[in-house]
Amino acid sequence: SQASGGEAQIAASAELESGAMPWSLLQHIDERDRAGLLPALFKVLSVGRGGSPRLQPDSRALHYMKKLYKTYATKEGIPKSNRSHLYNTVRLFTPCTRHKQAPGDQVTGILPSVELLFNLDRITTVEHLLKSVLLYNINNSVSFSSAVKCVCNLMIKEPKSSSRTLGRAPYSFTFNSQFEFGKKHKWIQIDVTSLLQPLVASNKRSIHMSINFTCMKDQLEHPSAQNGLFNMTLVSPSLILYLNDTSAQAYHSWYSLHYKRRPSQGPDQERSLSAYPVGEEAAEDGRSSHHRHRR
């Protein structure tokens, strides 16, 4: 009835005015609203301070993300308009556990094999993965006199602690990537989108991976160099996920630029937005097909 509705409203107002935490009100916010800045702001408003202390991230990771921020946004924080990508969210995760699995061999250029566990719980259901990379930071103290060629072997498997593997074969994906880097490079990025895409899409939030590196000096450039004999260490990588947050609170530049100005467009065309293919290259494909459509 209207009367009981009014009473409920009064009770809710009284709860707010008395300074009680309005968490019960947050229960009514749907999943999409809970994904963004709103819960953090609600918490600030309800408890009247900046929230609980947070775990501090790795300083190198933070440095990388600050650089990324400067690339994507102006000093005032406005997203730059000359963008060529679809993602509006980038998340960087550092591994929560790391184990050395096997020792390396400097003579053969095999680096110690490591096992990493990434917890991706922060990804919400409205965030869709477009691209993912493993980010390695090259230690400043390591200097390369020549180009180094590396082969990365990566395997993703079910965590040992998982009981869900019972009754079915544990899955594992292997992946090989070959790349070169010289003395100017501070970061190495290994694209692992194809590996992570099915896992993140199926809401898997615990990623267990094993990584092997074999690195060799360029023998053509330095024939005197013995079989890649060099002292090289790679710090455990971070995992960067480039995502498209589809919630209403997230900024959709592509939508703003191409669709808001054309109100006459039909709903079918708008629906095709969510059906773009995966990856940055794919995003470019999507844009070009849109231009073809306009012509």
Binding site: L37, L55, M65, Y72, E76, G77, Q249
Partner: protein
């Protein structure tokens, strides 16, 4: 007749006549009219700098001021706004006059440290007011 005219002239001038120049000034150079204002803040002032890494400063801006009686052209207000103004003036002053509110916003990129120590770059819609309207 002359008598009527002279008696009218002898009457004291009403307040409307005295305030004519003020009346025109209100239309030509409106004071305190609904418009955009700056409000620059730094996240450290709010003690949010422990979780918002960038930007350091933020100007959400805000809308403030009086809504004029004829709002259609300049503010792009709907007819409802005019109707509400008329209701306030002619029928019931307990009905509020139209409010000066943001009409357009721009997004903001934010770099945050999440509770689990991960770092998130996000672009949020509607974080900076860029245009005001009366509604």
């Amino acid at each position: 007749g002359q008598e009527t005219v002279s008696s009218e002239l002898k009457k004291p001038l009403g307040p409307a006549s005295f305030n004519l120049s003020e009346y025109f000034r209100q239309f030509l150079l409106p004071q305190n009219e609904c418009e955009l204002h700056d409000f620059r803040l730094s996240f450290s002032q709010l003690k949010w700098d422990n979780w918002i890494v960038a930007p350091h400063r933020y100007n959400p801006r805000y809308c403030k001021g009086d809504c004029p009686r004829a709002v259609g052209h300049r503010y792009g207000s709907p007819v409802h706004t005019m109707v509400q103004n008329i209701i306030y003036e002619k029928l019931d002053s307990s009905v509020p006059r139209p409010s000066c509110v943001p009409a357009k916003y721009s997004p903001l990129s934010v770099l945050t440290i999440e509770p689990d120590g991960s770092i998130a770059y996000k672009e949020y819609e509607d974080m900076i007011a860029t245009k005001c309207t009366c509604r």
